[in-house]
């Protein structure tokens, strides 16, 4: 809905260039294997590929049949096979099995593996160990960046989070550096880089080295500033339930390049895949809105639409013709979109009602505020007992542990240990008076019959060892004072993305650093965030013209993923301050994806 946007906000660069580059390079790679070939594509590369290429284009370059990589024996009859995969050991092992099975059957074919965005030595080791190194040629498709929307670019690497933060594997650091390098060479030079986090520092270093090694031609800078932030700087925000329209759709229907709406939404007898982006005129107006505003907006739209259609009554032939040629198409499209989003809102409302969403939100807000913790614990305990949803229970436990870590005094010293030792989940102790958390641990242990819970919460508490959420929240004023009315229709700050209860820590940091042009004055905050903050000034820009525009375009890179709520908050901040944010993320996450990344129950 129309916010009082600053008029002077600069235009965003055109990122379709990234798609074209990736497509051209893929064509080049396919031509390196001349002749008819079958192409096997890794499942999670299919949709990103769909965004930049199509079947006709692949067919034009001698691709005969397309298959999904499924870890089962293949049935291709082609004598050339090309695999387009992520550099994952499991997939390479499957390819090795496939090649060896062919060998055993006396089949001779040409094989090529295209790793994207890059190959790893470990993958080549597999080829060597399985005795097929040399039988298979390898290549790299430097497809780093997929523009998801005008202001969102994704690396499409959900595993970045787990690999980097849980396993401590830095394999994606260079990838992050290369992604930045690509953007820098196309839309740079960047004049200032801010960052916080261990990984952010390493990615910056990797990028810097790559810049030093390549020649940078002088060009007009389109993106002035860059902000790098590690996900472990702020785990609280992505663990909260999302209430902004786009975030809520992601929480409920799971946006994965597009969203699949079931028959309950489409009011047809089959489900439908829908692209949700700024092309959808209805969506682009409600995506950043608090869910409670969406109904009113959609109702108003429906009324307007009705009026527009009603105009045709009493028209003469000529007027009718103008109406049909000029307005009807637009109206029909709007009508289609409107009924889709009304259906989606209705369906989400039903689902959330079933879940007692209101109470869940209340608990989350209390946790964020540090208020009524006992009641929250009771609620979480009951949530676990009733087995409402395992992922939600774990999420709440993690929120509890993250938000309460700094506030141990009120619980006595034994709880400091309890919190720090959340890794010892699955304890089977009977409830002792005042020992709520231990009892809860035992319940989580019962909830799942393997070590999942332990692994998970253990991982989180060790990841966020020094979570000082309460102190940070006070210092940065993340939680608005209670008692004040918050009008969600006219948001006054970024807190609106969480019903006015909490300003996302990540976004608040970005706001503060941009305002101060650095970390000065935030020393205490960075100390509580385990340090690793930096700011680097690049070459001074002499031309004042570029200064004004590109300086207000800020690329924010989230290492480990970001949520739609954070994107909405940044869009709001941009409108308020006259910035334009471009979000570069390793993947779009939400609380469920974050939790699932921690699960360890697959073999």
């Amino acid at each position: 809905m129309a916010h009082s946007a600053r008029r002077d906000a600069p235009e965003l660069p055109d990122f379709s260039l990234l798609k074209r580059l990736a497509r051209d390079q893929l064509i080049y790679l396919l031509e390196q294997l001349p002749g008819k070939k079958d192409l096997f594509i890794e499942a999670d590369l299919m949709s990103p590929l769909d965004r930049i290429a199509n079947v006709t284009m692949l067919k034009q370059h001698d691709v005969d049949k397309l298959y999904k990589v499924e870890n089962t024996p293949i049935f291709s009859t082609c004598d050339q096979i090309c695999f387009l995969i992520r550099p994952r050991i499991q997939t390479v092992k499957w390819i090795a099995d496939t090649v060896n099975a062919d060998k055993a059957a006396g089949k001779f074919r040409k094989y090529k593996i295209i790793f994207t965005p890059q190959k790893f030595y470990a993958c080549e080791t597999v080829l060597e160990e399985q005795g097929i190194y040399g039988d298979v040629s390898t290549d790299e498709w430097a497809f780093y960046l997929l523009p998801l929307d005008d202001d969102i670019i994704s690396l499409e690497l959900p595993e970045f989070f787990r690999d980097n933060f849980l396993e401590g594997d830095q394999r994606w650091v260079t990838t992050g550096g290369s992604a930045l390098h690509l953007l820098h060479s196309l839309f740079g030079p960047f004049s200032k880089v801010y960052g916080i986090g261990r990984c952010a520092k390493m990615v910056y270093e990797s990028w810097r080295e790559q810049v030093e090694e390549s020649e940078q031609k002088a060009q007009k800078s389109e993106i002035g500033n860059v902000f790098l932030i590690d996900r472990d700087v702020d785990f609280v925000t992505p663990l909260c339930s999302q209430v902004v329209y786009e975030g809520l759709v992601d929480d409920i229907f799971r946006i994965k390049w597009c969203v699949e709406f079931g028959p309950d939404v489409t009011t047809a007898d089959k489900s439908m895949k829908v692209m949700l982006n700024s092309q959808d005129k209805v969506f682009s107006e409600i995506r950043n809105e608090h869910f409670s505003n969406v109904f009113g907006f959609l109702s108003q739209k429906a009324r307007n639409l009705q009026t527009a259609y009603d105009k045709r009554r009493g028209m003469d032939i000529k007027q009718m013709r103008t109406f049909v040629s000029e307005e009807l198409k637009g109206l029909k499209q709007e009508h289609r979109l409107l009924s889709l989003h009304i259906g989606a809102s209705e369906s989400m409302m039903k689902k959330k009602t079933k879940q007692d969403f209101q109470e869940l939100l209340k608990t989350e807000h209390s946790l964020l505020e540090g208020f009524d913790i006992r009641e929250c614990i009771t609620y979480i305990e009951e949530h676990i007992n009733r087995q409402v949803s395992m992922i939600d229970s774990l999420r709440l436990l993690c929120l509890l542990s993250l938000t309460e870590n700094g506030e141990s005094q009120s619980y006595g010293i034994e709880h400091l240990l309890t919190f720090a030792n959340l890794r010892q989940l699955g304890l089977l102790v009977e409830q002792q008076p005042g020992d709520a958390l231990t009892a809860m641990e035992s319940k989580v242990g019962k909830l799942v019959n393997d070590k999942t819970a332990e692994k998970l919460t253990g991982a989180f508490s060790s990841l966020a060892k020094k979570s000082n959420f309460r102190a940070l929240s006070k210092k940065l004023a993340l939680v608005p004072k209670t008692g004040e009315e918050y009008d969600l229709r006219v948001p006054r700050d970024m807190a609106y993305v969480f019903s006015g209860a909490y300003i996302p820590l990540s976004c608040k940091l970005i706001e503060q650093v941009l305002e101060r042009d650095g970390w000065t004055g935030l020393e205490e905050v960075t100390r509580m965030l385990n340090g690793n903050e930096f700011v680097v000034t690049g070459e001074a820009i002499s031309d004042a013209r570029f200064k004004t525009d590109s300086q207000r375009i800020i690329l924010v890179m989230f290492l480990g993923g970001c949520s739609y709520s954070e994107i909405s908050a940044l869009r709001f901040l941009g409108r308020e301050k006259g910035y334009k944010f471009i979000v570069l993320t390793t993947a779009i996450i939400n609380s469920a994806r974050l939790m699932e990344a921690m699960l360890d129950n697959h073999v």
Binding site: Q118, T267, F291, E346, L599
Partner: protein, 472 residues
């Protein structure tokens, strides 16, 4: 766990909606419904002229846009299946393709980025040409070359000191890919045997970053045995135990899985975890018995509950609460005798309540809360708060009478009255206002009930009663 989730949801989330407010905006939903009706009524008009929908993407039956890669792969998949059932010698004509006259490769070569790595030219050089200077590379240069994806021989780093220098250099470069590569070269399996794990672990212990990379690599490679040995020599026995315990996930056969779990009990877990593993074993053992028994009963088709509620999934490997719920569905209170000590009274009550409510066995529900005192009077007690009980009953579509009975038991008068209003237990609301002598509220409430209904009459009678001394 996750695989069985839908089944669990079926067990647990089968309850009905409850009124939900988002900022107390009740009316928004109804206005939304109106909009929906309005929009749908327009549809008629739109559908009539829908032929020229050229702005819409054509979609196949599954909803994929036709011509998309995802769609095409599905097509191949279905045609592959056909090939399997109708074997052909020829794979059939491939889809027609448009010939491309031009090649992009020539264009692209000139365009090639500096960062594009090229392995092949390096490999093609005659061996004699690089052999000499390879050995001269310092750890720094070697790591640099590896980062660029250039050919490197690590054979020249032979002494332990050289190897460690190389490893440290890789760690300094922050490139996980290179760190892992150096780890695998430095700690080849044969080296493991030669130099004994103690040496290795001594060197690795002080190199946490490298160690984590190596552990992750071994995990991904499925090098279970090596990893167990590594943890052992590092003194990380708990990690070792967990790793071995994790193996049970790969055992499909439940009897073998059970036996494996039994063998895990003696692993060096911290004491609490050991208890947990023991419980896991006991649970699976019980589930195997229940499963065998129920499968048999279900096949015979004589047990009423299986006819009414066919088993959606096997009970094997379900969490303990789900198992309890499952048992409560069939044998209401049999299991309570052998209730595992690890389940609290609250948990048992909630579970049994949900199960019996789902079966609409309201009498059973009642007996869950009934306690007798020494005089033989019965009283209803609940450790979980009766407002919760009411909520669960409502979600299971309990009849008004049952709901009313439990709303009555809610202690907090404010909560009670709001619940009574919510679930339309008119008698309770009316009686409470009467007791509070709150004439105003009663009049307001009269406006909410149906005119001429017994409730309406009751309120009227009370309002007409001159005996009552109203407070307002």
């Amino acid at each position: 766990m996750m695989r069985s989730k839908p089944d669990e949801d079926d067990y647990w989330n089968s309850s009905k909606c409850r009124a939900f407010t988002f900022d107390d905006d009740y009316d928004e939903l109804s206005s939304l419904k109106e909009s929906k009706r309005a929009v749908n009524s327009i549809r008629q008009f739109v559908v009539d002229e829908d032929e020229d929908e050229d702005d819409m993407v054509k979609v196949s039956w599954s909803g994929e846009p036709i011509g998309s890669i995802t769609w095409s792969i599905k097509e191949t998949a279905s045609s592959t299946k056909q090939e399997q059932s109708f074997p052909k010698i020829d794979s059939g004509p491939s889809l027609p393709r448009q010939g491309s006259g031009y090649s992009l490769s020539s264009l692209f070569k000139a365009f090639s980025e500096p960062s594009t790595r090229n392995f092949a030219p390096e490999l093609r050089k005659p061996k004699s040409e690089y052999k000499d200077y390879v050995s001269d590379w310092s750890p720094e240069e070697t790591v640099k070359r590896m980062q660029r994806g250039k050919f490197c021989s690590l054979e020249t780093f032979r002494s332990l000191k050289d190897k460690m220098q190389l490893l440290d250099q890789a760690v300094c470069a922050n490139d996980g890919n290179v760190i892992t590569a150096v780890c695998t070269h430095v700690f080849l399996q044969k080296y493991f045997l030669q130099c004994k794990l103690e040496v290795l672990s001594r060197e690795l212990m002080s190199r946490d970053v490298a160690l984590r990379h190596y552990i992750h690599y071994l995990k991904e490679m499925g090098e279970q045995k090596l990893l167990v040995e590594l943890f052992k020599s590092l003194g990380r026995t708990e990690d070792m135990a967990l790793l071995q315990y994790r193996e049970h996930l790969s055992i499909k056969d439940e009897v073998r899985r059970k036996e494996y779990l039994k063998s895990c009990i003696s692993l060096p877990f911290p004491p609490d975890d050991a208890g947990h593993v023991q419980d896991h074993y006991t649970l699976l053992e019980r589930q195997i018995i229940i499963e065998a028994n129920d499968k048999h009963l279900e096949n015979k088709g004589q047990v009423e509950v299986f006819k009414k509620h066919p088993r959606k999934a096997s009970i094997l490997n379900m969490p303990i609460i789900t198992t309890l719920y499952y048992s409560c569905l069939q044998f209401p209170f049999k299991l309570s005798l052998t209730l595992p000590s690890t389940i609290s009274e609250k948990q048992y009550l909630l579970t049994a309540l949900s199960a019996r409510a789902k079966l609409k066995e309201w009498l059973d529900v009642g007996s869950l809360f009934t306690t007798k005192n020494w005089l033989g009077y019965t009283k209803k007690r609940s450790p979980i708060g009766f407002h919760r009980v009411v909520d669960i009953l409502h979600k299971n579509n309990a009849p008004a009478q049952v709901l009313q009975e439990y709303v009555c038991l809610v202690e907090d008068p404010n909560l009670k009255i709001s619940l009574a209003q919510k679930y339309k237990c008119h008698d309770i609301v009316i009686d409470m206002y009467k007791d509070q002598k709150d004439r105003q509220q009663l009049i307001v409430y009269q406006g909410k009930v149906e005119r001429g209904s017994p409730e309406d009459k009751k309120i009227q009678d009370i309002l007409n009663n001159t005996q009552i001394r109203w407070k307002n």
